[in-house]
Symmetry: C2
Subunit: 682 residues, 2 copies
C-alpha cells in the first residue's frame, strides 16, 4: 500500500508556492488552478507517471496534457522539479518575451510539453488522439512479452474544457473506442471566469461521462487527500476497456484568503495574501522560488526512476529487435521521423490523354497507394466516407476488438459527425511522435471551418496534419450555399503556417500529397472537387510543388490568368477562346499560394512578370488575391443550390463571360504602366 | 383521447410519397429521413402545432426547426400541404436554380422556414435560442390572463446533429435554463452517412440528455404508432420546467426495399423501388406528386384552425393593448422591426481631450446606455464577462426563476464556455423576430473562430447578430499566441455579408454600434481592444459609419496610411514622426472595410486617390489588404506571449520601424506610375 509522508505534503506546498511566485513575478497569469491541482500533479508524477525527464522524446513515455492550459504555471513548475530543461530562471521569465514559459503551453517551445493548449477543450481532444495513437501502435507492434508501446495518456481538464463542444465530441468517441489507456483528472472546482459554475454549468458531468461509457471516479477531497487521489488513479489504470475521468473536487486557489472564488482564477494574488499563504504552508514569505531539499530529493528520485524505466525499455526494444528485426526497423524509422524509402513511387502521374477525374477520386487512388507505401498513414472521415473517398479498399477500421467491426491495428478512424473533435484528435495523433502516426481525415471543405480552433493549433504547433477537404466549391451543386465554401480557403490562407492546396488535376493532386506528407512542420488542407477535372497539358508533380507555375506560356502575352483547382481548366478554355480573337493569354496554375510565397523572388517574378495584367480566376471570394493579381474573377456572395454547371453559369464563371471581362482588363491596362503585383518595396 | 384514422395514415403516406417524388424529380437529395419522420411530422402539425400558414410571421406562432436540414424535402412538403407559399411546382423545382426549395432550408428564401439548417447541429442550437426568446418575451410582457407570448419551439434532429459539439453545448445550456417550451424529436434511425451509427456513436443519448436535466421520452415505434407519438408530444408539453427530447425510433427510408440502411440516406431511390413503395402505400405508381383529397381536407382543416388561433390571439392582443397600452406599443414596435425613437442619443461622442480608453471599455459604456434605450438588446458572454465587459451594471441574468440567480425577463445570458453554441443560439434569438430580441454577446476575438459555423449561417441568413469580440490582437499581451488573432479578421472579412468592425477610438466604437444595430440584415463582429486607445482628432460617428474616411489630410501627400483599430493611433504617431523629416503622410481610418466597399466609387477614390502609395498598418496578416493598399505593415506569423508593448516592438509595429519602411516605399514608387488600388477595370 502506498503511503504519503510529510515530505509529500511539503512537495505539494512547494508546487503551490512556486506557481504563486511564478505568476506574481510575471504580474500576470492564473494562480488558482495550479494551487488547486498541485496535489493531483504531485501524486500523478511521483507515483505513476512513466517518463524520463532527461529524454523527453522517449517514444513510450506517458503523455501528459494540461487541457486547462491557463494553469500552465503548474506544468512549468512540475517540469522544473522533474528535471526537464526548465530552470528557475525560466519560471522567473514566465510570460516574458522569447521565454520558454509562455502564457499558455506551446508544443515545440518548452521541453516536455506534448501539445499546445489554452484554447479550451483542445487538450482534451488531443489526449484522445494521443491515446488512440498508443492503442494503434501497441496493436500494431507489441508482441507477446514485448509491450513496446504501452504508455498511458493523462490529462488535467477543468470546467471550461468540459463546457466546450470539442471535448464532448472527443469524449463520446473515446468512450465508443473503449480507450482504457486514457485517464482524465477533472479539476471540479466549480469556478469559471464568470463566477460559480452554477450560473451556466449545472449538468451532471459524471452521468454524462457514464453515458459515453467512461469509468467515473469521484474524489471528494482533492485538496489534501493524496491517498484518495492515488487510489483513484490506480483504479483508473486497472480499467483497461474504458477511459476514466476522475472527478476531483478541489478548491481553486487553495490557501488564499479568496480560495474557492473566481477572484483567484486569472489574476496574481495580492502581496499580503501571498505572504499569508506562504506562512500557512510553512514557507518563508521573504523567500521566492524556494525549493526545499526534501522536495528536490523526491523529484530527483522520480527522475532517476524515469531514466531507469527508459533504460529498461531500451533493453526490451533491443531484444525485440533481435526477435522482430523488421518491425523494429520500422519502429526505428518512424521514431526517427523518416518516411519509407521510395514512398514517392506511390504517387501516380498523368498525361492529357488520361480521362477527367474528380480530385476527390484522385485522392482516393492516392490514399490506396500511399496506405501501402506509408504504414503510419492513418485515415478517417467525419461521417462522410463515401463522399470524401478517404478509405482504401482493404482498410481495417480502428475499432475496439470487442466491437467486431475492426481492431486497434486498423488505420481508418470513423470519427462520426465531429469535425472539431476530429481536428483536435488528429493534432493529438500527430503529437504522439513524428512518423509514429501521420493523420489524414476528411470532411467537406466548408466544414473544416467547424474545426477552425484545431486547425489553428496544428499550424501554431507545427504539426503535420492532413485535411482531405472534398466538395470544395459551388461545383458541389445541389447541396447549395449552406455547403458551398466561399471564404474558407481565404480563411486558411490567412492563417500562418498552413498550406492550402487546390490541385487542378491528377499531377497536381499527387503534388499536393507529396507536399502534405513532406511538410513535417505544417498542416495541409487539400481542397478537392466533387466534379471531374481534365488532365492538363503542362502540369507535373515537380511544377505543382513549387506552389505556382506557368502552365501555358505564350509569346507577346496580353495577360496572365492565375487560377486554382477546378478553375484552371476554365482558364485554359478561356485562353483558347481568346486565342481565336488573336489575344495571347498566359496561364499560371497556383495550387498552393503559401508554397509559392516561399519560392525565390526571381522565380516568383518569372511566374508573374511585369508588363501585362494578371487576372485571378477562383470560384471563391476575391479576398486575398490582391497580392497576386491586378483583377479578380471571383464569387463574392454565397453560392446557390442547383446542378453545378447552372451554378457556375449563374455567377458568370464561364469562358465566354470571362473572356469578355479579360478584354476589358486588357483595354484598361493599356494606358497604365503595369507592374507585377509581386514587385513590392517591402 | 385523440384518435387517428385511416385518413391520417393516408396523409402520412402522402407525405412520404411527395418527399420521394420531390427527391426523384431533382435526381438529388435525401429521401430517407423524410420517409422516416413523416409520421412525427403529421402528428405534430395536425394535432399540436400552433401557426397560421397564411401569415407565417405571426409573432406568437410555434416555431419549427429542422435541424437535420438535409431532410428538407419533408419540410417543403409539409409547408405545401399546410398552405404556406410553397406550390407543387416549387416541389418540382427542388434543388434547381433560383427555386424557393433549395437543397437545405434557407431563412428568407422559403415562406415558413424559420432558420437556415443543413450544417449539422446548428438548428438544434437555433431552437434553443428560439426557446430562450419566447421565455424572455413571455416573462417580459405576459400578464395575468394575457399569455401574449406562449409558443413552443419544436425541433427535429438526427444522429448527425447529436454528434456535433455545437448541439451538446446548446443542450447543456438549455437544461440549465429549464426551457420547458422546447421539444426536440430525435430521429433515432441508427443510420448516418458512413452506415450504422454503431461504428462511431454508441453513447447512451437518453442518459446524456438526462445528465443535462432534460426530460427524455422514448417512442419505440415511430414508423406507425401515431398515438404513441401524440402522447409523447403531449407529455413533453406538460413538462414546463425541462426541455424534452423524444427519442423516436424510426426506420430510415421507411417503405423502401433498402429501408433501414444508409443506401436510402442521401440519394434518390431507384425507379423500381419507388414503384413498389407507391404500390405498398396504395398510390398509383404512374402518378407523381399526388395529394389525395382526404389529405387535402385534413390540411385545409389545420390551416383553418391556425387562422382562427391567430385571430383569437389578435383579439387577445387588442384587449391587452387596452389594458397595457405601453407594453402593447412596445411589442408592436418590436414586431414591426423598428428601433425606439431617439435611440441614437445613447451613443456617446468624444473629443481628443477625452482620456484614452480601451475599446472594450467603451463598449461597456455603450452597452449600459443602449440597454436603457433599446429594451430588446440581450447581451451575454461565453464565460468572459469580466474581460468582455458585456454586462451592464444593473443587468439581470436570464436564468430560471427557481435558480435564485435571475429570471426569464433578464437580459444577460451566461452562455458558459460555449462559443459555438452561443453563436448558434444568438442566430435563434435573432430569428424569433426582427426586434423582438437583438442578441449581442462576447468572447475573445480569437475564439469567434470556434463559432465559425454559426457566424457563417448568420451571414447567409441575413441576421442581425452582434459579436463583442474583445482582446482583438497581440495587444492582449501575455496570454500569448494561442489567444492572439492573426487570421481571424481576414476570415470574417472574406465571409460574404459580414461586417467586421475594428474601431480606433470612442467615436468609432459608437459608430460601430450604430452600424451593428441598424444593419438589420447583416451580422457584425466588433473587434475591441484590451489596451487603451487615445481619442483621435478627426474621428466622428458620421465618418466611422462610412467604413473608411480621411482622418488626417495633408497637402502634397507622399503617402497614405490606412489603418484600423489600435493601429490608427500608431499611424498618427508615425505620420508625426515623418513630418519631422518633411514627409507628408495622409491617414485613413478604416474601421469597417465591408461598409467602405459599399460607398460610391467616387467617395472611395477620394479616400484612396491615385498618385501616391497606400500603406496598410494592421497587427494581423496582410492577407486581403492588396485590395486597398500597395504595401502592408502587418504580422504574418503568430504572435508572442509578453507584455503588449514588447510584443508590438518584437514585430516591428512601432513608429520608428514603420517610418523607415515608409521612406523605402516612397522611394520605390517614385519611378512608378501610382494608381489607386481601387482603380480597377472590373
Amino acid at each position: 500500500m502506498v503511503s504519503f509522508t510529510d515530505n509529500d505534503i511539503k512537495a505539494v506546498q512547494t508546487i503551490r508556492t512556486l506557481a504563486l511566485d511564478t505568476v506574481n513575478k510575471a504580474n500576470s497569469g492564473h494562480p488558482g488552478a495550479p494551487m488547486g491541482m498541485a496535489p493531483a500533479a504531485h501524486v500523478l508524477f511521483s507515483k505513476f507517471f512513466k517518463a524520463n525527464p532527461s529524454n523527453s522524446k522517449w517514444a513510450n513515455r506517458d503523455r501528459f496534457v494540461l487541457s486547462n492550459g491557463h494553469a500552465c504555471a503548474l506544468q512549468y513548475v512540475l517540469l522544473h522539479l522533474l528535471g526537464y530543461k526548465v530552470t528557475l530562471d525560466d519560471l522567473k521569465s514566465f510570460r516574458q518575451l522569447d521565454s520558454i514559459t509562455p502564457g499558455h503551453p506551446e508544443l515545440g517551445v518548452t521541453d516536455g510539453i506534448e501539445v499546445t493548449t489554452g484554447p479550451l477543450g483542445q487538450g482534451f481532444a488531443n489526449a484522445v488522439g494521443l491515446a488512440i495513437a498508443q492503442a494503434h501502435l501497441g496493436a500494431t507492434f507489441n508482441k507477446d512479452g514485448f509491450p513496446i508501446f504501452d504508455n498511458h495518456t493523462y490529462m488535467f481538464t477543468g470546467d471550461g474544457c468540459l463546457m466546450e463542444g470539442v471535448s464532448a465530441e472527443a469524449a463520446s468517441l473515446a468512450g465508443h473506442l473503449k480507450l482504457g489507456n486514457l485517464i482524465a483528472i477533472y479539476d471540479d472546482n466549480k469556478i469559471s471566469i464568470d463566477g460559480d459554475t452554477n450560473i451556466a454549468f449545472t449538468e451532471d458531468v459524471a452521468k454524462r461521462f457514464e453515458s459515453y461509457d467512461w469509468q467515473v471516479i469521484v474524489v471528494e477531497n482533492g485538496d489534501s487527500d493524496l491517498a484518495a487521489i492515488h487510489d483513484a488513479i490506480a483504479k483508473a489504470q486497472a480499467e483497461t476497456t474504458k477511459p476514466t475521468i476522475i472527478q476531483l473536487r478541489t478548491t481553486i486557489g487553495f490557501g488564499s484568503k479568496d480560495q474557492g472564488t473566481h477572484g483567484v482564477h486569472g489574476n496574481p494574488l495580492k502581496k499580503d495574501d501571498t505572504i499569508e499563504i506562504k506562512k500557512k504552508f510553512g514557507f518563508n514569505p521573504e523567500e521566492f522560488f524556494a525549493v526545499p531539499n526534501e522536495t528536490k530529493e523526491i523529484y530527483a528520485g522520480i527522475a532517476k526512476k524515469g531514466a531507469e524505466t527508459e533504460a529498461a525499455w531500451e533493453k526490451l526494444f533491443g531484444d525485440y529487435a533481435t526477435k522482430y528485426p523488421e518491425e523494429a526497423a520500422d519502429i526505428k524509422r518512424r521514431i526517427d521521423g523518416k518516411l519509407p524509402d521510395g514512398w514517392e513511387k506511390a504517387l501516380p502521374t498523368f498525361t492529357p490523354a488520361d480521362p477527367a477525374v474528380a480530385s476527390r477520386k484522385l485522392s482516393e487512388t492516392l490514399l490506396a497507394k500511399l496506405s501501402v507505401a506509408i504504414p503510419e498513414l492513418v485515415s478517417g472521415s467525419a461521417d462522410l466516407t463515401p463522399s470524401n473517398l478517404t478509405r482504401w479498399g482493404n482498410a481495417v477500421d480502428f475499432q475496439p476488438p470487442s466491437s467486431g467491426l475492426g481492431d486497434y491495428s486498423g488505420r481508418y478512424i470513423r470519427y462520426g459527425v465531429r469535425e472539431h473533435g476530429m481536428g483536435a484528435i488528429m493534432n493529438g495523433l500527430a503529437a504522439y511522435g513524428p512518423n509514429l502516426v501521420i493523420p489524414a481525415a476528411g470532411t467537406f471543405l466548408n466544414f473544416v471551418s467547424y474545426a477552425a480552433g484545431a486547425v489553428r493549433l496544428a499550424a501554431l504547433s507545427h504539426q503535420r496534419v492532413i485535411w482531405v477537404a472534398t466538395h470544395d466549391s459551388i461545383g458541389l451543386g445541389e447541396d447549395g450555399p449552406t455547403h458551398q465554401p466561399i471564404e474558407t480557403v481565404a480563411h486558411f490562407r490567412a492563417l500562418p503556417n498552413c498550406n492550402v492546396w487546390r490541385p487542378a488535376d491528377g499531377n497536381e493532386t499527387s503534388g499536393a500529397y507529396h507536399s502534405a506528407l513532406t511538410s513535417t512542420r505544417t498542416p495541409s488542407i487539400l481542397a478537392l472537387t466533387r466534379q471531374n477535372l481534365p488532365q492538363l497539358e503542362g502540369s507535373s508533380i515537380e511544377n505543382a510543388i513549387k506552389g505556382a507555375y506557368v502552365l501555358r506560356d505564350v509569346k507577346d502575352a496580353a495577360l496572365t490568368f492565375i487560377a486554382t483547382g477546378s478553375e484552371v481548366s476554365l482558364a485554359v478554355e478561356t485562353a483558347d477562346l481568346l486565342a481565336k480573337d488573336g489575344i495571347n493569354a498566359r496561364i499560371v496554375s497556383a495550387p498552393c499560394l503559401e508554397i509559392f510565397a516561399q519560392q525565390s523572388r526571381e522565380y516568383q517574378l518569372q511566374v508573374l512578370p511585369d508588363g501585362h495584367p494578371v487576372i485571378s480566376i477562383e470560384a471563391y471570394t476575391s479576398f486575398g488575391w490582391g497580392k497576386l493579381a491586378h483583377e479578380s474573377i471571383s464569387l463574392d456572395t454565397f453560392g446557390a443550390s442547383a446542378p453545378a454547371a447552372a451554378v457556375y453559369k449563374k455567377f458568370g464563371l464561364t469562358s465566354d463571360v470571362i473572356s469578355t471581362k479579360a478584354k476589358k482588363v486588357i483595354e484598361f491596362y493599356k494606358s497604365i504602366q503595369v507592374v507585377s503585383p509581386l514587385n513590392k518595396a517591402l
